[in-house]
């Protein structure tokens, strides 16, 4: 069925992107922060358009793109992230570049890439969406072209990203070669139709290559090497973008691909993801302890978070359809909480950076004296990452880990809890700088930009809401998870009881 209305939200986003680039083309002196507000406005329109899809029947565009609650969930998330990041960038980019239109355009385009990574039910479409996101990010990371670190980060990211794309493609081609189909439902049908004598080794290699490719994108260890450099070199709002949007998108793709297309052969890949999860969280958290640069610290901390999230993907492979819903709902609510906390943290850090220009941890010394609100906000976000109560992290982590607990995954869940304890240590080291030390140099109180302040207030309320009353968020997550596992969907057909 060709129903083009399912693309309307992204028509808005992509149209706005072109419009914004056009504005600067014709009015080069247009104020750069106004471009940011226009982008935020477009994101709001995009979000509102996305709201109309809530509760609509799932439908498929030619079997390659699905419009269901899962897609809607990530569409709303993408719009929200673009909204927050564009507001965050307003003053930051205004003082650092002369041309910013492409920057804001690319934010919107990258958001569209994320939506179709979640919506794709066909390998080529998934790949193209992934590349749309990746190419936008390559440019965004290197956007401050006069800054050597930014250019270096971009180059590193491009080289490794291209390498991982090649792996992903190779894996796809192997899967296609054996199953003869590129659609998820076709792959699932072909895999379950084979006789049960054994899986073709080529398919297993294909799975592993796909896993490697996606693992690069979400920066799972041992494919995480690019992340710290890219995070450190990128402009601060882009770092926020990298650690929210690109991670969420990677997991959206993984959930649909592993949860529907190749779930039948979960025996062949689930152990690999489980090991990947254990490795990723341990490496991320242990290396984070030694960091002195805040951006690098957050890069490793987000690698740790990816490790926790990977457990849920493995748990899908270990459970039945209900187990899949359990694990996926837990993962989705955790991604929501993680995204909100990360955006909150980066909003605050951007405000600090605009004032001090320092991105090392010691640069936060005495923040509780000079700007107590920001210190509180940063503490909230870090406590949320560590999973302390009242903040999103506690509730979402409990729900995610509980959803992912099966007899086989319990040990990794235990490791995950242990790791979040390790993470508390280095979060405390950051909090310590703000509260236990006096400010260095200028110790007068300063006022923060009202836009950033407003954004921070909204995000704090969001983080507290998810943390204290996770009910609504969890039921949205369940609604989003259901289409992947209910009868009638690709996996519903494929699951052999």
């Amino acid at each position: 069925m060709r129903d083009y209305t399912i693309f309307i939200p992204e028509y808005i986003a992509a149209g706005a992107a072109i419009g914004i680039i056009g504005i600067e083309l014709f009015w080069p002196n247009f104020r750069k922060d106004r471009l940011a507000y226009l982008t935020a406005l477009a994101a709001v329109a995009w979000f509102v358009a996305g709201l109309f899809f809530i509760g609509k029947d799932a439908q498929s565009f030619q079997g390659i793109i699905a419009s269901d609650d899962f897609t809607t969930y990530f569409r709303l998330m993408a719009a929200g992230i673009v909204f927050a990041v564009s507001l965050m960038s307003a003053n930051y980019m205004r003082t650092r570049t002369k041309t910013a239109a492409e920057y804001y355009g690319l934010l919107l385009i990258a958001g569209c890439g994320m939506v179709y990574m979640a919506a794709a039910t066909e390998l080529i479409t998934a790949y193209i969406s992934l590349e749309l996101l990746s190419f936008s990010l390559y440019i965004l990371v290197g956007y401050l072209k006069r800054d050597n670190r930014s250019s270096e980060a971009s180059l590193k990211y491009i080289l490794l990203g291209a390498f991982s794309s090649a792996m992903f493609l190779y894996g796809m081609s192997l899967v296609y070669g054996v199953t003869g189909s590129t659609t998820y439902s076709g792959i699932a049908a072909a895999l379950s139709a084979r006789d049960q004598a054994g899986t073709d080794p080529a398919v297993i290699v294909g799975f592993m290559l796909i896993l490697t490719g996606v693992g690069f994108k979400v920066s799972a260890a041992p494919f995480h090497m690019w992340a710290p450099d890219a995070y450190e070199g990128a402009p601060l709002p882009v770092t926020a973008f990298l650690s929210t949007l690109s991670k969420a998108a990677g997991f959206a793709l993984m959930l649909r691909l592993f949860g529907t297309a190749i779930i039948v052969d979960s025996v062949e890949w689930r152990w690999a993801i489980l090991c990947l999860a254990a490795l990723t969280m341990t490496i991320g958290n242990l290396i984070a302890i030694q960091q002195s640069n805040l951006k690098r610290l957050l890069a490793y901390s987000s690698i740790g978070q990816v490790g926790y999230m990977l457990i849920s993907i493995a748990a899908i492979g270990y459970g039945d359809a209900q187990g899949g819903i359990n694990a996926t709902s837990g993962l989705l609510i955790h991604i929501m909480g993680y995204v909100a906390s990360t955006l909150l943290l980066f909003t605050a850090l951007t405000a600090v950076y605009n004032r001090t220009g320092r991105d090392d941890i010691a640069g936060l010394k005495g923040l509780a004296e000079t700007q107590p609100f920001l210190a509180l906000v940063i503490t909230c976000a870090l406590f949320s990452f560590a999973g302390l109560p009242f903040f999103a992290g506690f509730a979402t982590k409990v729900l995610m880990f509980q959803g992912a607990t099966t007899d086989e995954t319990l040990w990794v869940v235990a490791l995950g809890v242990l790791n979040s304890f390790i993470s508390l240590y280095y979060y405390l080291m950051v909090i310590r700088q703000m509260y236990l030390f006096d400010p260095v140099g200028d110790s007068t109180r300063w006022k923060m930009n009202p836009v950033l302040g407003g954004l921070a207030v909204v995000l704090v309320l969001g983080v507290l809401f998810i943390g204290m009353y996770p009910g609504p968020a969890f039921s949205w997550s369940e609604d989003a998870a259901k289409p992947l596992f209910e009868a009638g969907s690709a996996s519903g057909l494929a699951r052999v009881p």
């Binding site: 209900q322 819903i325 359990n326 709902s329 837990g330 406590f383 302390l388 109560p389 009242f390 506690f394 409990v398 880990f401 509980q402 959803g403 607990t405 099966t406 007899d407 319990l410 869940v413 235990a414 809890v417 242990l418 979040s420 304890f421 508390l424 240590y425 405390l428 909090i431 310590r432 509260y435 236990l436 009353y469 996770p470 009910g471 969890f474 039921s475 997550s477 369940e478 998870a481």
Partner: protein
């Protein structure tokens, strides 16, 4: 609305008032230091009054669990079934006693920190958040919220100690925080495993307890995970050898935080052992209790010996807390009615007397700026009231008849002798050591040759007298008229699974 439900709102209010106070304080400008103090003291008085009401209104001959209030939080979503996560507050005899303790100590602590001046707004925000967590843990009948509040009570400690503390505060704060959260890692794992194993789709503690009783949680499972739960909670209860945060943490903490921390927070650990150990995994408890007994005895004796060698007031009290919490663990490990009743009594008794001790240490340290007992002598000449208050706390500590310590320790020793006579004897040895370290300190500090360096020390302020007076009242009441306590506690203890008469 039934009367019981109405009382449920009282329980809710007891937890919520500290949170509301914290929120009000966030809105108060930091320069309004007097307003901050008034808000805090009024909150303390309210909370104390409500907790006395809860204790008094708990009917000994009524249902075991009273004053229920239940709001559904999440249900019928993914793995959560009927009543998946509920905000479920209720009170049994043990939590009624613990609530009373918390109310009394919270009020006393709020009075004691009246003179605190440096960023007192931030201090009280964290202080009341911590107490909301403590009340919430004692009242929660839902595992999710039990753990939610448990963590909430630990979280503010880092800043409370790190910012307002004294000796080696950063070290003490980080060590304490990391060890306590490290303990809760084990509880997290235990919770995930329990929920998965019980497969009921609910965090309702009563349903999970039933599952533990009827074997839905298999014996192997219980034997595997009981140590996790007990060690996890035990860290907070200063279970030897996981007690090392206690002396350093207490030494670093400011007065009110020491009071609340030693007085109430450590009891959360022992309370957790009852809730998540004895009640949730009775088969595991039966299997492992001798082990807990051994650790408890070691803690009791070791703490007393260590206290004997210390010179810093706070270190003496820190180690003495380790020793007294050792008695609590021994009482729990007896698994008989009188022993466990004694353990809960000891939790209360140690709570009030140790709060009084830390209050007195704070009153002295604020003026003298040293806590080395060798520096002092003949303090009774300049601070007579201080000496009397401290002596009452110290004698309760030693277990003098007529004070709370005697009631509690007597129950524990009787319980221990019934099951493990040898350990009972060792516990009495530890009690003798307690007399030694207390009397040694009395002799050096209170009496002895007067050191003229201290001639301008002032006696207790009126607020400190009030604060101490409340605590002494609790100590004396429990020492001479313990029936209200033992009635409530044993009414609940008899219902615990696996407890012998």
């Amino acid at each position: 609305m039934t009367f019981d439900e109405g009382q449920g709102y009282v329980v809710l209010a007891t937890m919520a008032i500290p949170l509301v106070a914290a929120f009000l304080l966030v809105l108060t400008p930091g320069s309004q230091k007097m307003a901050v103090r008034y808000i805090s003291v009024v909150t303390g008085a309210l909370v104390c009054a409500l907790s006395i009401y809860i204790f008094a209104a708990y009917q000994v001959d009524g249902a075991e669990v009273q004053m229920k209030l239940r709001w559904v939080w999440i249900e019928n979503t993914a793995f959560l079934g009927e009543n998946g996560i509920t905000l479920y507050f209720a009170v049994d005899g043990i939590s009624a006693t613990m609530a009373l303790l918390t109310g009394v100590v919270a009020f006393a602590g709020a009075l004691a920190s009246w003179k605190l001046d440096y960023r007192n707004k931030d201090f009280y925000i964290l202080y009341w958040t911590l107490l909301a967590g403590v009340f919430g843990t004692f009242f929660s009948y839902d595992l999710f919220f039990f753990f939610f509040f448990y963590e909430l009570a630990v979280m503010p400690l880092y800043l409370l100690i790190g910012v307002w503390g004294s000796t080696r505060k950063e070290y003490g704060a980080a060590k304490l925080m990391l060890m306590l959260v490290g303990g809760s890692v084990l509880i997290w794992i235990g919770i995930f495993a329990t929920f998965h194993e019980a497969n009921l789709g609910t965090f309702d503690l009563q349903q999970l307890w039933a599952a533990g009783n009827d074997g839905t949680l298999s014996p192997t499972f219980q034997k595997t995970f009981f140590p996790l739960m007990v060690i996890g909670c035990g860290v907070l209860a200063a279970l030897w050898p996981f007690h090392t945060w206690s002396p350093d943490g207490h030494m670093a903490a400011p007065t009110a935080v020491s009071m609340v921390h030693a007085g109430v927070l450590m009891k959360l650990g022992a309370f957790g052992i009852i809730r998540l150990g004895i009640q949730l995994m009775p088969i595991g408890a039966e299997f492992w209790m001798p082990g807990l007994m051994v650790l408890g005895v070691i803690g009791a004796v070791y703490g007393a010996i260590a206290a004997l060698t210390q010179r810093d007031f706070k270190l003496i009290s820190g180690y003495s807390s380790v020793s007294h919490m050792g008695y609590v663990l021994m009482g729990l490990a007896t698994m008989n009615e009188i022993g466990i009743t004694g353990a809960v009594l000891q939790m209360f008794s140690h709570g009030v007397m140790t709060a009084l001790v830390f209050l007195m240490i704070g009153a002295l340290y604020d003026q003298a700026h040293t806590r080395d007992i060798k520096d002092f002598g003949g303090i009774a000449k300049v601070m007579p009231l201080w000496v009397i208050f401290y002596a009452i706390a110290g004698l309760a500590n030693v277990g003098l008849p007529g004070l709370s310590g005697f009631t509690a320790e007597f129950h524990i020793f009787v319980g221990t002798f019934r099951t493990y006579p040898v350990f009972g004897a060792m516990a009495i040895f530890a009690a003798a050591l307690a007399a030694a370290y207390m009397l040694r300190m009395f002799g050096q500090v209170f009496f002895g040759p007067f050191n003229p360096r201290w001639s301008d020390l002032k006696d207790l302020t009126p607020l400190e007298r009030l604060s101490g007076g409340i605590l002494i009242a609790a100590i004396v009441v429990m020492g001479v008229w313990w029936a209200p306590f033992t009635d409530r506690i044993s009414a609940t203890v008899t219902h615990l699974p696996g407890v012998t008469g």
